[in-house]
């Protein structure tokens, strides 16, 4: 039999005004196991807490029930008080007789029996409470950043500056990401490379940052504070230590392939760095196009390389490391607009996407920075921009707004006017969205000062005729059909999640929305956390966003990671699930429904007849378990139970609440 003490709070008149405290105390004395009952005006005050600690010591109490406000309010206060008296804090139960009783009922005759029922339930539960310990977990003082775009770079720099080691895993040969592909940034028209390159170099040179380019994450195991990650460093076929980045190899290389960095608008060599400011400035050999790998002869790069850094025998290398925190910053892709036949994308060289047009402006881009048509090399005089290609498209299951297109279209229209002064732009839009500092002003400048005609409407068909493209649209403000003979069409193709996002999400253990953008833990209050403790998200992998937002989110994620890494030990959840392995039949339904991958199969040995039988049962990792208890419900045999909210505790509460006295 437990020795339970019941303490009832008046909360001034908040409780005492509606609940008859004396009656409640008297009734509590008759609950099974109750050896002491008392009341006080403000139990949460220091005096009130003293009453509890004293009573625990004097009456040798091993369970405490407090009838007070909501446990969401003061459970911790009272648990601490109990702990002070040497009692395990989890042996205390709260009966919520304020928010759930005195404040919602007016009649003392009614509220008092209800308060007693709630207390009886709390006492019945407390009798079954067990002493619990929250696990204390080690923290590996190192962070992993997945993705080396501006979000990843920023997060890594912030974490590194706080004094922690960071590894950046980037799947491309260079860090830089999407931002490296941009010509200028809105609304200031800064040169993108000019502001990004110093950050890239800083990251590369930072003593706390370790760049793992041309690498991918293969496996993530473990949990907050102790993620065990396998990283595959793909073979570059170039020894990064010997390579000086002199460029002779890619100059001499005879074979070519479409450049990913240039969106396929131009070619690069088979041994290449993706762009001129690449970090690290170490080329990779693309096996698919390399003559040596395809046909077994050539080897020109090997012959020409002054420091003899070419190594055709190089193999993928698996790096296994432990990290305390992970920041996922894998960025976005651009929708391939060929799914819209009416826009003719892919069928004419002068129909481009926004990102492709971005490369046309760039001095190191496919046209050397000259804004010309890819079809005939002449500057375009009439350019039609079409918005919302694949965004806000319910019919194709992409309901969301890509957020950046309105602004970059305005930017591109301005840049166009600067490069081709006699050019005229037309923008077909549904709505212009310019939330952001200086954004509206910027867009208005485009419309008012740069000869950009904004047409509220959409385009129904584009087709080539003679040497131009006929664009048929509507202006819904005048309700006139519009036909424009354009030289070039730029499609603001939707910002979409990376194609491999679902796979990466599974690998890392975070979930996504229906568009495969990673989910934050709370849309308002936990914007960079995920549901998996210790894993944070930043940048466009979470949702479309522009550079300043991405950078702020990256810094926010970094701060969260730093906060985590700065802890000596982590306090885990005490109310975790627990498997009774002798009863567990090993069906592992619990594993299937656990949102935290906290349950894994484990093989145990059992005596059977004269020998030993091996069988599989479930095991809970208390460090990963967050205590939702869904496993305890999916387990038909009750072989997995939730500490603190166990089957017998809840049943005891039901029994007690239903007992009408």
């Amino acid at each position: 039999m437990p020795r339970t003490g019941v303490f009832i709070c008046h909360c001034g008149t908040n409780i005492a005004g509606t609940v008859d405290i004396d009656k409640t105390v008297e009734a509590s004395r008759n609950f099974p196991g109750v050896v002491h009952a008392d009341e006080y005006r403000y139990l949460c005050s220091e005096m009130g807490q003293d009453i509890i600690t004293k009573a625990i010591k004097e009456n040798d109490l091993d369970r405490v029930v407090v009838g007070t406000c909501s446990p969401r309010m003061h459970e911790n206060t009272f648990r601490k008080a109990a702990a002070e008296a040497g009692l395990n804090p989890y042996l205390l139960e709260v009966a919520n007789i304020r928010e759930h009783c005195s404040w919602v009922h007016k009649d003392m005759e009614e509220a008092t029996p209800k308060a007693i029922a709630l207390l009886r339930a709390a006492a019945a539960k407390a009798a079954l409470n067990e002493a619990l310990e929250a696990p204390r977990l080690d923290v590996e003082k190192r962070a992993l950043v997945i993705g080396g775009g501006i979000a990843g770079i920023q997060a890594a720099l912030d974490i590194a500056e706080a004094g922690y080691e960071v590894d950046i895993v980037e799947k491309d040969p260079s860090i830089g990401g999407r931002m490296a592909q941009l010509e200028k940034t809105f609304p200031t028209l800064d040169c993108s490379a000019c502001i990004l390159t110093p950050k890239m170099v800083e990251a590369a040179q930072h003593p706390n940052i370790n760049l793992l380019t041309y690498s991918e994450v293969d496996e993530v195991k473990g949990f907050v504070g102790q993620f065990d990650v396998k990283i595959r460093q793909k073979a570059r076929y170039v020894d990064p230590v010997k390579c000086t980045g002199c460029g002779i190899c890619w100059e001499k290389c005879p074979s070519k392939a479409p450049s990913e960095f240039e969106m396929g608008l131009s070619k690069r060599k088979s041994i290449y760095v993706p762009f001129a400011q690449a970090v690290p400035m170490v080329p990779v050999i693309d096996r698919d196009s390399c003559l040596y790998f395809r046909k077994g002869r050539c080897q020109i790069c090997e012959k020409e390389c002054p420091p003899q850094a070419i190594d055709y025998e190089q193999q993928d290398e698996i790096i296994e490391r432990r990290y305390g925190a992970i920041v996922v910053a894998t960025g976005f892709d651009q929708l391939d607009p060929t799914i819209y036949g009416e826009y003719g994308y892919g069928q004419h060289p002068d129909i481009l996407t926004g990102l492709e047009f971005e490369r046309i402006f760039n001095a190191s881009g496919p046209t050397g920075g000259k804004v010309v048509k890819l079809s005939d090399g002449k500057p375009p005089k009439k350019v039609v921009f079409i918005q919302c290609i694949g965004s806000r498209d319910k019919a194709r299951g992409m309901n969301y707004c890509s957020k950046i297109c309105c602004m970059y279209t305005a930017k591109q229209a301005i840049l166009l006017k600067e490069k081709v002064p006699d050019a005229k732009s037309y923008v077909f839009y549904i709505d212009v969205r310019t939330g952001g500092k200086g954004y509206e002003e910027f867009q208005r400048r485009a419309a008012e000062e740069h000869d950009v005609a904004y047409m509220r409407g959409q385009v129904g068909k584009i087709f080539p005729e003679d040497d131009h493209l006929v664009v048929r649209g509507i202006d819904s403000l005048t309700n006139r059909n519009i036909e424009i003979k354009a030289d070039m069409v730029v499609l603001a193709a939707a910002t979409v999640a990376r194609g491999d996002a679902p796979e990466l999400g599974r690998l890392v253990g975070i979930n996504s929305d229906s568009y495969h953008f990673f989910n934050e833990a709370h849309p308002k209050l936990k914007p960079v956390e995920t549901h998996t403790a210790g894993i944070f998200i930043a940048g466009a992998c979470q949702a479309p966003k522009d550079i300043p937002e991405t950078v702020s989110q990256a810094s926010a994620a970094a701060v969260k990671a730093i906060g985590l890494l700065s802890k000596e030990k982590l306090q885990g959840e005490a109310c975790t699930a627990e498997v009774i392995q002798s009863d567990c039949s090993g069906c592992l339904n619990c594993e299937a429904i656990c949102p935290y991958t906290a349950i894994t199969p484990v093989e145990i040995e059992e005596r059977y007849k004269d020998g030993v039988l091996k069988r599989t049962v479930a095991e809970v990792n208390p460090a990963l378990c967050q205590g939702c208890g869904s496993c305890a419900v999916t387990c038909r045999s009750g072989s997995i139970n939730l500490k603190g909210f166990s089957n017998d505790q809840i049943m005891a509460e039901v029994d007690a609440i239903c007992l009408q006295r």
Partner: protein, 338 residues
């Protein structure tokens, strides 16, 4: 005393008898016939050869509260339970009644006897009912039981054409027939000649079987016999000679009751011990226990095999693992049959 009543008048008889206390009858309950208390509107079925569950429910109910308690402060109040009101069990076939005699040996003939059982047994008037046609599972002949007569009955009943013939054999029986009063007519002239009923011949030879089994606890036959057993409790619950029970409390802080209810040696928890040990942890041990109990332990104490050939386990076992199979496997089969 011999009486007679037309079958169509029986509902009136039931009504009259049930007025004084519970009247148990073979009652058609949906697709099955069960030995149950009669109530207005219930459909008695005297033609059923065997009820799905035996008549032992009357004497050893599946659930029986025998103690109640109430607590206040440090006081514990025990409240005795009056369980036995006069009961009539009407239509008990000879095999079932023979089985009750076997229960008597367990519960009454040993010291201390079982009070609850005694009370019920004494207050129960048994109306035996002769069998007319066996079903394929009946094999009571093997145990020397005459399906036409139940020697232990207070009243023996026979169905004959449209009549039920009733012969009181004990004082209790006479009292019962008296109780029915005018509903019954004199039957002194009726002839009670039940047809000879021949039950299934499975070719059993029970001679010396119990003695023979004494040394066969570790016999390899058990390694095979148990295999098909699913571990359910059908055989024990339909069996008229199984008599094990469990005790459980129901209650809360203030008050509660203690009751006993049927238990089955086929259940894994049957022999769970407080320390966690279970001497009959596997199905093999449990199957062996049941058959050894019927064929060796009971006979060793009471000089007869604890089976009456009612055939219920043959009919109800979902996988057809029954006592006849066990007897045969253990060598209780006539040689010619092999």
């Amino acid at each position: 005393m011999k009486k007679v009543i037309a079958r169509e008048k029986l509902p009136e008889l039931w009504k009259s008898l049930a007025a004084k206390g519970p009247l148990f009858l073979p009652i058609q309950e949906g697709p099955v016939v069960l030995f149950q208390p009669w109530s207005e509107g219930a459909e008695a079925n005297l033609d059923a050869v065997n009820t799905a569950v035996s008549a032992k429910d009357v004497f050893l109910p599946r659930e029986e509260t025998y103690l109640q308690y109430r607590c206040s402060g440090n006081q514990l109040e025990l409240i005795p339970v009056e369980n036995a009101e006069p009961v009539i069990a009407f239509g008990v076939h000879p095999c079932d009644l023979k089985a009750v005699e076997m229960l008597d040996k367990v519960y009454l003939d040993q010291e201390p006897s079982d009070e609850l059982y005694r009370q019920r047994r004494e207050k129960t008037t048994v109306v035996g009912l002769s069998c007319r046609e066996p079903d394929p599972f009946c094999f009571c002949n093997e145990f020397g039981i005459n399906p036409a007569d139940a020697p232990g009955a207070d009243v023996m009943a026979h169905l004959k054409n449209g009549l039920v013939l009733l012969e009181a054999r004990t004082d209790k029986g006479k009292a019962l027939l008296d109780q029915a009063g005018d509903l019954l007519q004199d039957g002194s002239d009726e002839k009670f000649e039940a047809a000879e009923v021949k039950t299934a011949d499975f070719g059993l030879n029970l001679e010396g079987l119990p003695e023979n089994l004494k040394e066969r606890f570790e016999d390899p036959v058990w390694d095979e016999l148990y295999k098909s057993c699913l571990g359910c409790g059908v055989c024990t619950y339909v069996c008229p000679t199984c008599y094990c029970f469990d005790v459980e409390d129901f209650g809360h802080e203030g008050e509660g009751q203690r009751f006993r209810c049927w238990d089955s040696c086929m259940y894994g928890h049957f022999t769970d011990m407080a320390g966690g040990h279970n001497p009959r942890a596997g199905r093999k041990e449990r199957v062996r226990q049941r058959f050894m109990h019927k064929l060796q332990y009971y006979p060793e104490t009471f000089n007869e095999i604890a089976c009456v050939g009612c055939g219920r386990c043959l009919r109800s076992c979902p996988v057809n693992l029954d006592i006849v199979q066990a007897i045969k496997a253990l060598g209780g089969e006539t040689v010619e049959q092999r």
